[in-house]
């Protein structure tokens, strides 16, 4: 009995191995593997899946090109938006010599933790969604690049935007990862010398459920605006509990809250939330329409989310590098470091000496369950009013 099972298992193994072998021999081109890292499960998975789909789109469209030098394969890995899980996934990708480069991370807290891993194992990476400046500027690792701009770009626009609307008395709620605290520090810096007063700041854990304590305090202070520096799941809770407790201040979130799932979770409560994002509306990007059409044609289950285009750009950049210099980590790294004014669907990309690409941020407001560019919104037109002014 035991033996017959053993034989069956062995036979199955043999068949599986053989079919694997025949498959690899049928192809002529070498395969270059590109890792994608982002939150594929957990509260931020909407953005992560949008990024993965966009990266896959870049890979698939290149694989359809008969003149390519390599076959490309995307290796998606889940960082769960947790630093320790991210490190494990990064190690996994970086120690696998068949992976040539990586398109890495949406969550700043994870991206800042993993840069050492990429440097140690010499895996060139292009960040597609994390905006903490230190990811590129806090080190001089030649492996690390970023296409999607940083908090510096974003916070500049945010401060101008909010002060321009006349919000002078702020309360800031931020998560206590490097993302939230990093943003707070930059906000403080930008606001120094202005007439804006930060009345109080609240650091909250990234998985906190109940905010009644913080929000009742906010209610006592009564600021004009609550600025939230964190990611969507936390932002949803804060916004929904503000309503339950009757906090009537205006709500603004940094780009971390800007995803389609914000509206899905909040329903009508999302109306009027303002935000700023490094990605412009797709229609206004140079290659945006092409991206929208291709993405729709590929039939992905999830929307690309605002950062999708950057994941596409990052993946495409890596593919272009491999096409030019071959599937070699060192060569790809060096090629990426010389990128200057290279056309992409999100406009020209230039990596500075830190491997960082600066972008211009766009102002948004939530209107009827969608993120609408501020300038095109009913709010800017004066038809709807923000609160707290």
């Amino acid at each position: 009995m035991l033996w017959s099972r053993g034989i069956a298992v062995a036979a199955l193994t043999a068949i599986a191995t053989l079919s694997g072998l025949t498959l690899t021999h049928a192809q002529q081109k070498e395969t270059a593997r590109i890792a994608f890292l982002g939150p594929l499960t957990g509260g931020n998975s909407a953005t992560g899946l949008g990024g993965r789909n966009s990266a896959r789109l870049a890979v698939d469209s290149r694989n359809a090109d008969p003149d390519r030098r390599y076959d490309y394969e995307l290796v998606p890995l889940d960082d769960e938006c947790l630093p320790n899980v991210g490190i494990q996934a990064a190690t996994r990708a970086a120690t696998d010599r068949s992976v040539v480069a990586g398109v890495t991370h949406f969550c700043s807290a994870v991206a800042i933790a993993t840069v050492d891993v990429y440097n140690r194992f010499e895996l060139p990476v292009v960040v597609w969604g994390a905006i903490l400046p230190a990811i590129t500027h806090g080190n001089d690792y030649p492996e690390v690049h970023r296409v999607n701009g940083s908090m510096l770009d974003e916070s500049k626009v945010l401060v101008e935007f909010l002060t321009g609307l006349g919000y002078k008395r702020w309360a800031v709620i931020h998560d206590t990862t490097d993302y939230g605290t990093g943003y707070l520090a930059i906000l403080r810096e930008k606001l120094a010398g202005s007439d804006v007063e930060i009345l109080s700041t609240f650091g909250v854990a990234a998985d906190q459920q109940d905010f009644s304590a913080e929000l009742l305090r906010v209610k006592e202070i009564d600021p004009q605006i609550v600025v939230f520096a964190g990611l969507t799941p936390l932002g949803v809770r804060v916004r929904s509990q503000m309503d339950r407790l009757g906090v009537r201040s205006q709500f603004a979130g940094i780009s971390g809250i800007m995803s389609v799932s914000y509206h899905d979770a909040l329903g009508s409560l999302s109306e009027g939330t303002i935000s700023v994002h490094n990605s412009a509306p797709l229609e206004t990007l140079p290659g945006g329409q092409m991206f929208v059409d291709e993405y729709a044609k590929a039939g992905f289950a999830e929307p690309p989310e605002p950062y999708g285009p950057y994941a596409f750009v990052a993946t495409n950049l890596i593919i272009e590098a491999i096409e030019e210099v071959g599937a070699n980590r060192e060569a790809v790294r060096d090629w990426l470091n010389t990128v200057e004014n290279r056309n992409s669907i999100a406009g020209p990309i230039t990596f500075d000496e830190h491997g960082h690409n600066s972008v211009a941020s766009t102002k948004y407001v939530a209107q009827d369950g969608r993120w609408v560019r501020w300038e095109d919104s009913l709010y800017a037109a004066g038809e709807r009013m923000l609160s707290g002014r």
Partner: protein, 304 residues
């Protein structure tokens, strides 16, 4: 003053949810001397089945506010009740002779299996899910305090369920049987009380309370996630233990005390509000060191 009232109100609402969970623990322990740690995850199951009930109503195109609330609650209670019976029938009752550690670990793992199933097999189960608004959100002012009507209704609902449970245990035939088994299972059996049936009925009753608590929790936070039951389970267990396992009133008092601990901490140390759970659990550990079987000590004669 108004703010103080708001703190008090929110604390009370948390207290009701905790008490509902704690009563379940107390009932199980009363009849069988076991801790069924999957209770918290049964609560999660209740919340998700409530959500599923709502979604299916929506698919049918039915949009009747009061009816859908009742339907959601009934489905949640049905599912959790059945889950309670199944866990009792197949795992807890056959194991009741084993060491406490084995039953504890086994029910913990059953709980893990439940919430992992939700995470893996519910579409998008790993992400927080928005819970529907089933109650009117009209704001009302009481003594200058801002309170939403739905919060008030939740409080009333929770207290109502607890009162009904207490009445059932005190004044119905089933309640009498439960109390008899709790006092002395063997004697109860001799007196012709079907032991296994009563135990399973108790499991169903306790688990249904968890179903209600799960829906309430979802309505209160407008959000549920697969992990919500783990912490609520431990809080419910702590409450039951502090109140003295086996006593319903103890469980209720325990539930409110736990919420009070959290609220008091936040009231006095608003800058360190994040430490509220640390404080609450530390207090529990200290209390248990002083009174190793709860403040109202576990007494065999006065179970349930």
């Amino acid at each position: 003053m108004a703010i103080l009232l708001e703190y008090l109100f929110n604390g009370a609402l948390l207290g009701v949810i905790y008490a509902l969970v704690a009563v379940g623990f107390t009932l199980f322990f009363g009849v069988l001397d076991v801790i069924k740690f999957s209770h918290g995850d049964v609560l999660t199951l209740g919340a998700y089945s409530g959500l599923a009930a709502f979604v299916s109503l929506e698919l049918l195109g039915l949009d009747l506010p009061v009816v859908s609330l009742i339907f959601v609650l009934v489905v949640a209670m049905l599912v959790t009740g059945l889950a309670g019976i199944a866990i009792g029938q197949f795992f807890v009752v056959p194991m009741r002779g084993s060491p406490a550690f084995n039953i504890l670990l086994m029910t913990l793992m059953i709980g893990t299996a439940i919430h992992e199933c939700i995470r893996l097999f519910v579409p998008g189960g790993a992400n927080p899910k928005a819970f529907p608004t089933l109650l009117p959100r009209t704001p009302i002012e009481i003594g200058g305090a801002y309170i939403r009507l739905d919060s008030l209704l939740l409080l009333v609902l929770g207290i109502g369920v607890i009162v009904v449970t207490n009445w059932m245990v005190r004044h119905t035939k089933l309640g009498l049987a439960i109390r008899a088994v709790a006092q002395d299972g063997d004697t109860a059996q001799i007196m012709g009380i079907p032991f296994r049936r009563v135990v399973l009925a108790t499991f169903a009753l306790g688990s249904m309370l968890a179903g209600v608590a799960g829906v309430m929790n979802g309505l209160y936070y407008s959000e549920i996630n697969f992990n919500v039951g783990v912490l609520l389970g431990v809080i419910g267990f702590s409450s039951a233990v502090v109140g003295g396992l086996g006593s319903i009133w103890g469980a209720i008092i325990g539930g409110f005390s736990f919420a009070a601990l959290q609220t008091v901490w936040v009231l006095f140390f608003p800058e360190m509000s994040g430490y509220r759970d640390v404080f609450a659990f530390t207090t529990i550990i200290v209390l248990m060191t002083i009174w190793p079987t709860g403040i109202i000590a576990e007494r065999y004669s006065e179970r349930v």
